[in-house]
Symmetry: C2
Subunit: 187 residues, 2 copies
Amino acid sequence: MEIHNNIFIALVHYPIYNKKGDVVITSVTTLDIHDIARTARTYGIAKFYILTPLPAQKELVHRILNHWITGYGAEYNPTRREAFLNVAVAGSLAEITDDIKNITGKISKTITTDARKFPNSIDYNNLKVELTKSDIFLFLFGTGWGLERGIIDNADYRLAPIEGITDYNHLPVRGAIAIILDRLLGR
Amino acid sequence: MEIHNNIFIALVHYPIYNKKGDVVITSVTTLDIHDIARTARTYGIAKFYILTPLPAQKELVHRILNHWITGYGAEYNPTRREAFLNVAVAGSLAEITDDIKNITGKISKTITTDARKFPNSIDYNNLKVELTKSDIFLFLFGTGWGLERGIIDNADYRLAPIEGITDYNHLPVRGAIAIILDRLLGR
């Protein structure tokens, strides 16, 4: 088993655009937690954060995690438990970077991903090379209609969008994360 | 826009193993339809079939498709409608291959995918070459604890499992399909 001790990911529920372009807090989706935890575990991600500032949503995630880590789910599906052991809830980006600093002793470099194109984006081959360096990396994945522009502008890297073979560019975040981790970390 | 007129996929709900190894019919999951339809549309798949022999489950899928294709959903989210236009329901594998024969005039070659390893499996690079031939291909993706062994044995190709970088091998089917289509058809 190999774990990337320098690679962290976060699923961001705030600040996010809604369909109309307003900045909102999106709702946590149970299946996101399951799917992304399993994908993160498969690709050896150090820790997967679910970022939401809402106490009730944080409590919901805690309840789901507890069910699968120490509750009935742990017995029913031990591999799900294993995936959920690396999942954490955080109220803000600062809280995540603080936690990563506690774990690694370093300030993490942030990487944003988006279906939209931005200037100065980095492609998959070049980012793959960056990830082999001794830095600590935090991927920020958006929900809803995408990450608020300020987060993208302040990131250390903006990863180029996934392109399929058509002009249709509406992958679910669960699928996009699977593809991105496979491209960057797959065998 | 480029569409692979020779590549079809199916999400199989029967015959499938459950946790205990019995052959069962699994339940249709709404989110599977959404996620896989969007991924299939992104990678230019000709048609995505949802295979279940249960009339009530077929009816459920039809209702979901109608909501997004002609109902309120079509107005609310036109890109979802576009993805769902290429989705169909089928009661058996024979029904799918008949439909593909009606569309293309040819008998499709089946490709099974599984988290388990099988003898005589084909790897991603070799299958990529096969897909450029003038044959018609049908990918069969399992649900639950995987496709029944007879389907795998009778397939024309058995695709090698996805390997991440760890020994953890429990990707969600939604993520696995995204990774497989990206590896075989992505730019």
